[in-house]
Subunit: 361 residues, 2 copies
């Protein structure tokens, strides 16, 4: 039965009194039972990231009373990790979960919406996105690809990485072969290192064999599971190159616009809830993993020296400014990001940072 | 028409074929159109806090397609601010928005679920609530009052307050008459000060007349609107007494349990979304207000000395431990909170704090 026919019958039917007509309209709204595919850049149920995508799908299904069901696919189950963007853009899948810096081949300026070296942390990033104009710029950028972006997760401040040699001064970065992709890699290169990009599945053997000297990954919770402690001696912090990486849900524009208004709000709100939940999930889980690394596996945890951090900050500013200068859109996003960053740092220096330093006295 | 009659007619009706029966069931689910009252401890549409409550109601209405409509009442529109807890507990209203430390007269241990001096910041608090066992303890505590609590907003780290004299050393706290309620007030008392509790509407004149020397409020965004800059010289940070105050939505247990499962999840998820949104809204708005205070109103912003902060921390630990010792429930909550606090500080020292300090070099 077509919807129009259904409405017509309702309009003329003798069974349904006027008092019930409102329910019949609700019934129509219910008529659309939609099934979506969500492709992701993570292995199915990968801790934190993949489980976050599953949680997102579950929330949407429960809140919509099953009207919008989303089946989550791990990387390579439907499309390879780095084809998620294209798959959702073309409508092969209606939804994707990943992080914007994976699509720099399509749009270099997308990187501003995941993380940049010495940029915003997770809380500040969400402040920019929701209350500082960031979401609007992100939506503009992705509209060209037939996509609607939503922030849907955050790793928090990552760790600096696993090293098989001590990094005591700038000279130790010379010639350092490290797996560190993206802007962080470019910064390392300018500091004299050799950034290499190796797929996750070859990482362990590369570090073990000495093909690389170091690698960054995420933070203690994910790094412990990966087993890096077996093959690397030193674990450095802080993760200057990824201070709060935003994960994204991207949605095919036509698929989203075809949803009823209540379902659209359900999708948006579920993303907001998952965005927070994943961030604080990492906050809660990282320390236990760190303690296991230190106490059971005797990992040597070290802090980068101020000299190194200062230099990396200076080089990061250069690299990010060059990214901004690539085109007008990139410059527009950078201007908004940078002006928000300056402001939020001024405030955090008196609030979050001042408080955490005071608590440590 | 009663629901049972409606179902019966559907079952025998000739108009509705088997294929449509599923929609008729949906129609039944839709039948419950629920109206709730939300009483709040804030003036109607008070920036940040009251507007957050309105946003929460709006999200729930939109996601539920109008099946759950919530009318928000400002303080004193239906019940006075400090009667919100009783009103929701008794079912006069189905929902409330406030903060748990307002109910310490009913349950002193409720204070752990808003904020404690030198305790968790907003992000850490949410990590404890959602992933460290905090929510479960909060639910247990409120169950005795026929209430279900949900975290639904956060102010972030507050400011230390407005002072009409310089606070350079511990001796300047002696005899200081300051409006600072709750645990923070008890800490000030032990440091030699005189905490007083004055309702918001008398605060301005009390500070202006010299009846008090100082007052704390929230942070720049709210404090600018209040106009404290006209009558106080010094604005101190950080807000050691309220490092990330959680706002709560409390819901009458019977009212919540009467909701369909999808509506329950909509309410829970809306609270999670607002919980994050309010926190990062404050992050985004506080600096602009701070700049106005400094540049236009020439406010003298100062940091408490390390000596003062160390002493206040030590006294805070005493006060919080005494709160814990009051009864078995309080001790149970404290043990969970404190153990999470120790862990999360260890992690934040290597992540958020180390990163923010590195960025400042």
């Amino acid at each position: 039965m077509k919807r129009r026919d259904f409405v017509k019958k309702l309009g003329t039917g003798t069974l349904l009194s006027g008092g019930l007509l409102s329910y019949s309209q609700s019934a129509l709204a219910k008529k659309k039972r939609v099934k979506w595919k969500m492709v992701t850049t993570w292995p199915k149920n990968f801790p934190g990231l993949g489980t976050g995508a599953e949680y997102l799908a579950k929330l949407i299904e429960t809140m919509s009373h099953g009207r919008l069901k989303i089946k989550v696919y791990g990387a390579r189950q439907l499309v390879p990790a780095f084809e998620v963007f294209d798959a959702v853009s073309s409508g092969t899948a209606q939804m994707g979960h990943g992080s914007a810096y994976y699509w720099k081949g399509k749009s270099e300026e997308a990187q501003f919406f995941s993380t940049v070296p010495f940029g915003l942390n997770g809380q500040e990033m969400n402040a920019w996105l929701y209350h500082g104009g960031g979401m609007k710029l992100w939506e503009e950028l992705y509209a060209d690809f037939n996509l609607i972006p939503m922030a849907a997760g955050n790793t928090g401040v990552q760790m600096g990485g696993w090293f098989n040699k001590q990094i005591n001064g700038l000279q130790d970065l010379q010639g350092l072969k490290m797996r560190i992709p993206g802007l962080g890699g470019e910064v390392l290169k300018r500091a004299g290192g050799t950034p290499v990009n190796i797929p996750g599945n070859e990482l362990y053997t590369s570090l073990q064999s000495g093909a690389i000297d170091a690698t960054e990954w995420v933070g203690p919770y994910n790094d412990l599971a990966f087993g890096f402690y077996r093959i690397a001696k030193y674990y450095y912090y802080p993760g200057w190159h990824e201070p709060g990486t935003t994960l994204e849900a991207m949605i095919n524009k036509k698929a989203f616009e075809a949803l009823d208004k209540d379902l659209q709000e359900i999708v948006r709100t579920a993303c907001k809830a998952v965005n927070q939940d994943m961030l604080v999930g990492y906050v809660a889980k990282n320390n236990a993993a760190l303690q296991t690394l230190v106490n059971e596996h005797k990992v040597d945890v070290r802090k980068f020296s101020d000299e190194i951090l200062k230099k990396l900050h200076q080089l990061s500013d250069e690299v990010v400014a060059e990214l901004a200068a690539k085109n007008a859109i990139s410059q527009k996003i950078f201007n908004s990001y940078q002006s928000f960053r300056d402001n939020v740092i001024a405030w955090d220096n008196m609030s979050e940072l001042a408080y955490m330093n005071a608590r440590k006295l």
